[in-house]
Symmetry: C2
Subunit: 601 residues, 2 copies
Amino acid sequence: MADKFFSERNLKFLLYEVLNTQHLTKFETFANHSRQMFDMVIDACAKLAGDLLWPCFEEMDKNPPELKDGRVHVHPSVKKIMKEAGDGGWIGLRFPEEHNGEQLPAVIGSACEFIFSAANYSASVYAHLTAGAAHLIISFGSRELIGTYVPNMLAGKWQGTMALTEPQAGSSLSDITTTAIPQNDGTYKIKGQKIFISAGDHTGADNVIHLMLAKIEGAPPGVKGISLFVVPRLRITDSGQLVGNDITVTQIYHKLGYRGAPITELSIGEKDDCIGFLVGEPHQGLRYMFRMMNEARINVGIGAAGIASAAYYAALEYAKARPQGRKITSKDPALPQVPIIEHADVKRMLLFQRAVVEGSMSLLLQSALYADLDNAGEGEGRERASLLLEILTPVAKTYPSEMGVLSTSQSIQCFGGYGYCEDFPAEQYYRDVRIHPIHEGTTGIQGMDLLGRKIMMKNGQAFKLYLDEIRQTIVQAKKLPDTAAYPEILENALRTLEKVTQHLISVAQSKGPEAYLADATLYLEMFGIITVAWQWLKQAAAALKGLQNKKSKKDIHFYEGKLFTFKYFFEYELPKIEGPAKRLMSEAHLTVEMQAEHFND
Amino acid sequence: MADKFFSERNLKFLLYEVLNTQHLTKFETFANHSRQMFDMVIDACAKLAGDLLWPCFEEMDKNPPELKDGRVHVHPSVKKIMKEAGDGGWIGLRFPEEHNGEQLPAVIGSACEFIFSAANYSASVYAHLTAGAAHLIISFGSRELIGTYVPNMLAGKWQGTMALTEPQAGSSLSDITTTAIPQNDGTYKIKGQKIFISAGDHTGADNVIHLMLAKIEGAPPGVKGISLFVVPRLRITDSGQLVGNDITVTQIYHKLGYRGAPITELSIGEKDDCIGFLVGEPHQGLRYMFRMMNEARINVGIGAAGIASAAYYAALEYAKARPQGRKITSKDPALPQVPIIEHADVKRMLLFQRAVVEGSMSLLLQSALYADLDNAGEGEGRERASLLLEILTPVAKTYPSEMGVLSTSQSIQCFGGYGYCEDFPAEQYYRDVRIHPIHEGTTGIQGMDLLGRKIMMKNGQAFKLYLDEIRQTIVQAKKLPDTAAYPEILENALRTLEKVTQHLISVAQSKGPEAYLADATLYLEMFGIITVAWQWLKQAAAALKGLQNKKSKKDIHFYEGKLFTFKYFFEYELPKIEGPAKRLMSEAHLTVEMQAEHFND
């Protein structure tokens, strides 16, 4: 197995040289921190990931969770990891100090999530699901709910979940049927079935706290009738004891990958004895959940980028070590074979992976930075950051996820036949990452979110700010030497994006919403490539600056490597918008016109 | 599990309405056959595939081969399948009558391979590897070798293999070191190690006949010193008994997918007691092997298309049955949910899969038809078919393989979360198909074959014929009503291809072979899309003809569905050449310039 799963050098380049994260400490919220503190956190995270998560990466895949006697038995490392995540303050990293959190910026939290995901994605989700659930409680729950549940969750003793999906309600949340019947004491009796609940039960935690969507009896139909509840696996009696709360794990799913984490099917209130506690106001559940969902979606992107990172470093190590064939210019069989990294096609495959990994991370940290500015900033700057975060969220979820699938596939390809075998880790990365275009809203759902909501929101204000932000980067980049025509190429891509967007809006007006949204997935694909090109232009500017203060040979190679990868992105990836752009400008709406029977034969 | 894995209607449409396969019977070689006979073969094949291969598809994956006491134990179905493949004449389907074959055209053989692969790819390879190995023996072996080995192979009693790869010689075959030492009796002692040998040993066959590459002691270095040998697992004594031939299975590989077939590592002649028999002349081994390799490469394409077909029908069945959400134009939650096939984005995902599967099959049968014309034809027509087969082979191997990976991924996506679970077959198809861009020459190797050899061969004659063949289709299609601007769009794509090819040739002249071939994979990608667009234009012409003789409602839906899929290809897939075309015209050769150290940090 490779001994590297991410690049600390690259992470710090993005944080400090590209995004100037150190400037966040000027905000009151983060005033107790410093760059030094950020570095310490990242170093400690890398150590924990390397010591605890990384060594059981393969083992957790080969020994997946088992449902025995009604309990989900997981790898023994999970308990250790949860304890460390609690003791070390990792679950509460971004929580306010008043809730015993570290009050660190989201961008540092995201960097840590990335490291954990790269080390062992399955192992990383336990703590991060717990943080998400606890965050929901402190954001919208009563003081009592917070006091009862959050401390044990932040300590890593109790697992948190998000319990949304039901058999008949996957992408269509308006159709959930889990019901909540009000009781005289202000609690609710919960009854229903939930599927695909990550970490819905396991032996690594003493209790499981479900943040569950349900409909209060008599609630209005559709999304307007959904409420949010805290529903613990074990509830606390008046005397402080933990007793069963009538939630049964009816099955765990056997999955393609991501096998170190149990995904469960839950039956709730079969004996009419499941108690839930309302979070916030009735019928506001979906709104609350979506505040967290946006964070969860960015975390999906981070997970995908982490897996792709580890797969890339595995392929890179192999490509440097594996001799095979000779340079095309010296085919003499008497010469020794060369390492495959000398072949242009292998360099291309490695550059693709690196461009995806480092481009994705740049976008994800950028998004997290907007979350920080939204959280800690004020006035217009805050509003701007909030809208930019809104428009970038579907992109930050999808680009790393979809490209992570292709990137891990190229990692397999670098290994040749060995990539298909379990002796090397590439095939596991390929299996693990495939969940990301599906969970927390499929790629199709993200496309509709971008084109159907975000582009239009506040009269197109978010889209205007997005274009403005990129154009600022272009103006700066044009002043630099050595970026050649690339800033202008990005400007042309933006003009294409504007033209396509205008065209689609005219389609919406003339042909209605179905034709407008039919190719939203393609629009998102194109949007994602342009967004990551912007991030690569920012990285190129920072690398050129780094080269000006030339230091060690190592630094020079790093910055030059960055510039090669930047050029790779503009030469090989950005042109990929041409296909979808051409399609999106077409007047043929065949996916609307074609009917189900045309698939018969 | 879905109850359909391929469309017989589509297969017959391609064979008789698009390719006019029935006309092959005018050649003497196939004069004993008729369309009726072809249909009987296909029907019998579909029955065998459905009765014997399909039922154990999942079971063979979940119970992969095991190495115990030196033997590879496979699923009990393998023995039955081999017996049926022998008894039913399936292994000898394309063999000449003089060798007890059925002397059927390659295009019918390919249709059958497709059906078997779609039913159960792993199960299909045993017979087809045996056919490939036996074909090598009858093509180049002595009468004695043929008499000794071929009958038991065609009877399905003895397994055949192709034994090329060694630990230090994967893509670089010139580096094999397995040696053959001449003995006084004309035989050779073989010594060496082979890896990744499919069906290199198993309990479903009484013997294994390796067609093995080795170097005779003192042979010239590189590919010019490679010879081909028959090396049986058990050799025949003078008294006719089978005794061990000193070949040991040292391990079997645990693989991502394709688990029903054992891939073995072999140690040959450890005790200096392994006898091999030279096939044909010394030092001609690679040339012999490559005659079969081209057939093997088309078979890889067929395998990928078969898997993608089964994945598509699984997704289609699910999409018709699964209710989720409502039409975007009627979001009232009181209305019932609609089957997901009603959503435009789901139709797009299904159309993508259908376009890949039916486009790939069209190309593969077209290639097989050229093989038949090369085999049975005469004079100029034969020469033309031979060159067209040469230039199409890397495309027919790669397009279905690379697109099969994406197509099965979209099948998973249609299932949502269920697609990621083992309860549905999509995840197995996704795992199974990933081998295809790797085995029998990786995609990178195919790109170099196309651009480095085939485009240039005979002064560009193959490429000229290819363009001519497509332009004939365009001219015909322009005469039809209802193909709109699509023929002209394909003509434009051909002009782009010519321009890119010219540009690359000028790069070869000015910058040498490394820059010329650096993006051969992208060139192949572009070439593949255009080739399949051609096949879709041919299908559209046939569908329009079919519609003119309107028959049942079912027929009308079929032909209209074909036309929708044709339009899909031209609207969504053909524009994907724009990205690679732009890249290939660029003067930035960064994958040549970048050095290994630029990947350090």
